[in-house]
Amino acid sequence: MKALAPARLTPPAGPRVTRNVEKWLSIGILLLPALVIYTWMVILPVIRAAQFSLYSWNGLGPLTEFTGLGNFVAIMRDEVFRVALGNNLFIIALSLLVQLPLALGLAVLLQSRLAGRAVFRTVYFMPYVISEVIAAFIFRYIFRPEGGLINMVLGTFHITGPAWLADTHIVMYAVFVTLTWKYFGYHMVLYLAGLQGIPAELKEAAKIDGASSWETFRYVTLPLLAPTIRLTIYLSVIGSLQVFDLVWAMTRGGPVSASETMATYMYRAGFIKQQLGYGSALAIIIFLICFGFSLVYQHFAMRRDVEGAY
């Protein structure tokens, strides 16, 4: 009898156990590599950034100088941070007011029966695949005060163009032009996808009812495109809050921090001035702004779109 007891504890034929073993083994093999690299390269560094932000630290030696929220208080009083934040907000504002409407306009243009529209789409989207460093170099060349294309064109109208990248009041406009050149195609592609989802019958019905093409756009197309527009606004804001490569390669945040963004300032603090605690606090602030924005935005603006997404 005693010998039989353990035998009854293991399930009779065994397939369920082997199936369970196989399932967990498969889960382990399939999931662990991603989990390990992701945790190691993304999550742990983020946690450590939060930790560093509470210290004054130059990156060498142990973390000893605990300053609590000292770095954050200092950032709030930091003149350069205010300029950087202002520049990020400037990019957001112009992106929403100029870049997105431009992208939408061109998407609508490409959606109409236009000869060679596939070619136009290819051209409009092309800058997106070109690296920001290259875009920065070419635009630095074009924005040169002497012999740059922009000022030569202005010169033919007898206008003396400014020193675009050396003028603290103008540099951000030059940066924005370059950003728009590179990124509007991305939004245009999203709008095109959204426009494709609108049934042609609706537009035809509006036309039969006597609506002008503007009215059709305003009262049929635009409302139906609203989820896509909300999405591009979201992506545009998040992207604008994180701008780094292009600014760094184009101006290094200069002249005198006039084109500094939060990310370039963080890079400067952390890697050039070796203030890792201060830099980490800046990083955490960038994160909190992005996170706060997406919570609020998704809650109020995108909730209807997210529901039923799966």
Partner: protein, 282 residues
Amino acid sequence: MSRRKNPLHTLRAGVVLQFVLAVVCAAILLVPLGTSVLGGFKKNSELMMRPFGLPAVPQTQNYTNVLASHAFWRQLENSVFVMTLTTFGVVALAAMAAYVFARLQFRGRDVLYNFFTLGLMFPTAVAILPLYLTIRSAGMVDTYWGIILPQIGFGLPLTIIVLRGFFAQIPKEIEEAAAIDGASIMGMFFYIVLPIVRPALASMAVLVMVSSWNAFFWPLLVINSTEMYTLPLGVMQFSSQFGTDYGRVLAFVTLSMVPAIAFYLVAERQIVSGLTAGAMKG
């Protein structure tokens, strides 16, 4: 009078106007690229006089100089190497994880999935200082792995989310039939599910390729020796080294754009569909 009232004429005028508008926009967009391509064909003396427009006599020496240089080919090779491993890493690991999240039931699955989606919230900038320390203490500064592993880590969340969506769309019946025939979980993943989602894998791969190819911020930190520079770092270095030797720099910039543009012209459909899927689902 009758001309203006004829709807066909207004329609045609509208179409012509649209076409002209489209051409003008395309021209404005292409000017920077054209400037770079043509500039490479000019001597500096000509660039001073006529920096824009067609070269009087095309000079090929800027281009041949770059093509004959060791640095350009070396950087091209480095970029290709980093891009290949990054792309393979992201797509392979993400597909494996996405399959688990889409198909296998187990305790803690949703928590783990949310753990991955959390990654979308972190701009690379947030983690970059401690990530650098991580890479430094792992002895990976100035190595290709020092670029590749972080790129994989940051590429995973979005790719997992998108691929999980694609896996979930596959009818379960296919796998149920395979299970009755005795297929294992791994077998189903490799031989049934992966082939079905190949187009989605291609789209995501192409997306990772573009972002890895253009990556600048992170390689700038990790790579010190010029021998290991990728092309974006090369452009930066070349343009500061040769400063106002614009013809030469423009030739270098143009040539370093060629692979990306050629690739784009071939894979435009995948890039666009990958981006759209990524934006909509992320």
